[in-house]
Symmetry: C2
Subunit: 500 residues, 2 copies
């Protein structure tokens, strides 16, 4: 079944978003936080209604989906905290300085304001957390922007149902009907991306799709920022000490991580570099043979996996190290083994992400081989170093190499399971991310949907509330270069209480 929004409903969603944008931008921060918490509560309350539909459309098991609903509502609540805390507005105040050189300085007050309607292209693999109620929606709303979600074709009924839950909750919170919209179908998505009403777009998906949409966003009459999360192989390197000291832990963690969610996570470790002189290879083969995966999200995704796996197996020098077990609809977890010369012989095939439960174990003979392999690794969301202890002599240089290639560098752990928190970074050098390197998870994801505005010599009465002298909201503000927390008065740079 292909569901495609007709042009009229796309236009309605766009018009509704513009109208909602004006209302939301004028809201107090506390109203914005209340909206986010209202959405979180509504999502939790609707879990029993939504999860069966999600199970039907995505083949994902109930516990995973329950966890994902909790993650999504938790994310909405985290952004409510971020909004109330206020740092995300990046308030900077320079009071007038008639003695500044070379020219006197006027009163300048800067903050970030909402960009306007955001178009979100939902992902297949997280029907909640990267879909209608996901991180892009939550962070755009936190920025004060209305959202139009282009639902993923893998779960259209769930998209419509979740949207109904959210928009009813939003309206109960007093938000306009156009605060969150949903559209379906490739053509509808492209039409919306070209529409002048849209101010920014966020995308999670394939490299080909993301690159095409990025080009459309750049070639519009008015170009807009496009934040794409595309492909990532998430390399891991096991040092010699790591392999000696932690073989069992590494094997268990690795197999668990690349098979989690049937290998359909953007942070799946797709390539592991390990020393050839260790028993890691044999242990791994044993562990994979008892691993299970499950059915994939959609027939198209399954077909993509099967083709990708064949392409990897077709490279001379690549052998199947081990395969796991699977029931009738399942795909089978697979680890392919190869050496560094093989990797160097066909990087364009071997370094492309293959979405599904497959990973490459690349064995290196010595540090020189390891270095040559690391040198050709593309940008990734994550990169892991598995070492012995903190004194591991190989660690510092490897961490530096990995930092140059990834947004998150992990020590002695695996990349799946992305914590939603203040410090999380989910986005890395190309092709992990396109557009300026941003994050789509964690508190700073909101920055994608804001733009700076500076007010010069504006009378207090017309200034936005958070820029006035008295810091009634008590948010962190930079005043004349000094970072202040709590209620510091701009005119004096001293705590407000000190003035009484």
């Amino acid at each position: 079944m292909v569901i495609e929004s007709d042009p009229t409903s796309v236009r309605q969603a766009l018009a509704g978003a513009v109208e909602a944008g004006d209302v939301l931008a004028a809201w107090e921060l506390s109203d914005r936080a209340r909206l986010l918490r209202g959405l979180a509560d509504a999502l939790d309350e609707a879990a029993d209604e939504l999860i069966p539909v999600a199970m039907e459309e995505t083949s994902l098991p109930e516990p995973r989906l329950r966890g994902e609903v909790a993650r999504s509502s938790g994310q909405l609540r985290m952004f409510a905290d971020v909004v109330e805390e206020g740092s995300f507005l990046e308030v900077v105040i320079d009071t007038q300085d008639p003695h500044a050189v070379p020219v006197p300085r006027p009163d300048l007050r800067r903050m970030l304001v909402p960009l306007g309607p955001v178009l979100v292209f939902a992902a297949s693999n997280f029907p909640f957390a990267f879909s209608v109620p996901g991180g892009d929606t939550a962070s755009a709303l936190a920025a004060g922007c209305p959202v139009i979600v282009k639902g993923h074709p893998g779960h259209p009924r769930l998209s419509i149902l979740t949207h109904r839950v959210l928009i009813e909750a939003a309206q109960r919170c007093g938000a306009p009907a156009g605060t969150i919209g949903v559209i379906l179908g490739e053509r509808a998505g492209v039409d919306a991306l070209r529409a002048p009403e849209v101010a920014a777009a966020a995308f999670t998906g394939s490299m080909r799709g993301g690159r095409a949409l990025h080009a459309i966003a750049a070639q519009r009459e008015v170009p807009i920022p496009f934040y794409g999360e595309l492909g990532s192989i998430n390399p891991a390197v096991v040092t010699e000490s790591g392999a000696q000291q932690r073989a069992a832990e590494i094997v268990d963690g690795y197999v668990g991580s690349f098979t989690l969610g049937v290998g359909q996570f953007c942070t799946k470790p797709g390539l592991v570099l390990a020393p050839s002189k260790s028993d890691l290879v044999d242990r791994l083969a044993g562990a994979v043979r008892s691993a299970t995966a499950g059915p994939m999200l959609t027939p198209a995704i399954r077909a993509g996996f099967v083709n990708g796996l064949e392409a990897l197996k077709g490279v001379t020098g690549v052998r199947v190290l081990a395969e796991g077990v699977g029931l009738e609809d399942d795909v089978v977890p697979t680890v392919l083994a190869l050496d560094v010369p093989t990797l160097l012989s066909a990087p364009e095939i071997l370094l492309e992400e293959c979405f599904g439960p497959v990973s490459l174990l690349v064995t290196y003979a010595d540090p020189e081989e390891l270095e040559r392999a690391v040198d050709i690794l593309p940008g990734s969301l994550t990169a892991t170093v598995y070492g012995g202890d903190s004194e591991d002599p190989a660690a510092p240089a490897l961490v530096r190499s990995m930092q140059a290639r990834a947004g998150r560098v992990i020590w002695n752990g695996w990349p799946t399971g992305v914590a939603v928190s203040w410090a999380m970074q989910h986005g890395g050098p190309w092709p992990a991310t396109v557009g300026s390197i941003h994050t789509s998870v964690g508190a700073t994801a909101v920055r994608r949907f804001q733009r700076p505005v500076c007010y010069q010599n504006l009378p207090e009465a017309i200034l936005p509330a958070v820029l006035r002298d008295a810091n009634i909201q008590g948010i962190p503000r930079r005043i004349n270069g000094l970072m202040t927390t709590g209620p510091v008065t701009a005119a004096t740079g001293r705590p407000a209480s000190g003035e009484h």
Copy 2:
């Protein structure tokens, strides 16, 4: 004389930048600040050598160029302060939380790291402040990135000479020879933009040029961020009270602002909306008649101005309100008058920036006409509201409208004279800026050349110094969601002194 770098020197500059990037990224913040101050001192010391060359190549007068050198060295010193203060690293630390729901949280520490070699396309109109030693160079170095400047063809000798001054100073500070490079010529610039060594580009110039380069940056095999500052008409609106109460002040400021630097500033007020029922028009005509400009930067820029002026004059309904005076090589300050219906009849001609000393005075008959005119204003670097007093009833709605269209909103003042400070914003909605909306002036300009990296469970010994538990540098850091200033220890969230 056309000077064009040959492919060999472009390749050398790129290779040098890559080598320098590795060294600079490993430097302490204090070394980076020392480099910026060393460059500032060297620039000031070389002023007497540089300014005569600048005068010869740009026709700009000595006092203006002296001011610009001071502005440029001041900017380098401001970025040294920004580096030492440390907030620009945006350090966020989430310590381990085994009780986090839905999943335990690992130790996550996030900061911004340098992107890598930055290609800067210098502008014509500020041979120091937006050229080799300008804001893009200063902010990229502050981020820890080496810079390759593509010098503007309007001042090639000055570009080479200034580069020599800077790179000698940089080497005295211990920086590698590739820290700052200079290349000349359009082909060299495009070749460098396509080169894999370049990680980001910054551009100040024409809309056509900027748009073409932006497309090249997006279509590279590895797309890179492109920060362009293109065209801006910088509209101003005079309210009825403003015209009544401040006519003389407005006329003086306006004429001074649109003729400053021979109208060759990106913040030149190119269009002023004023009530038709006031004596502003007559006063303005009188003031313009005694205004002077001067010679333009280059013959090509002069030709562009002459053509642009003819196009504006050619629109039916546009009349020359007044012209100023000029010597032989000078262009003549010109104000063109028109009404709102005329503006609405040919917006594609009348709303395009014309670089040089011309401005449009658009008279509105009533608030409805004003609203229709404001509605079609394109994005700009700045927008001004000239009102009566802070109680002006027209002000709040106008400030809101202007904020939607500009990066800096000015009350009762004029946009030229951009203060270099913490709160400055120089960048606005398209076509003022392309790429995500950023600033090319002020402390936050450094953010263009950084990317986030998060370290998960990394041992203290391998963590970057600013992310370790003890905050030896005393920089502002967010710890478990709480903004902290001064030396707060991550592990406890309490001031370090409290632990002794």
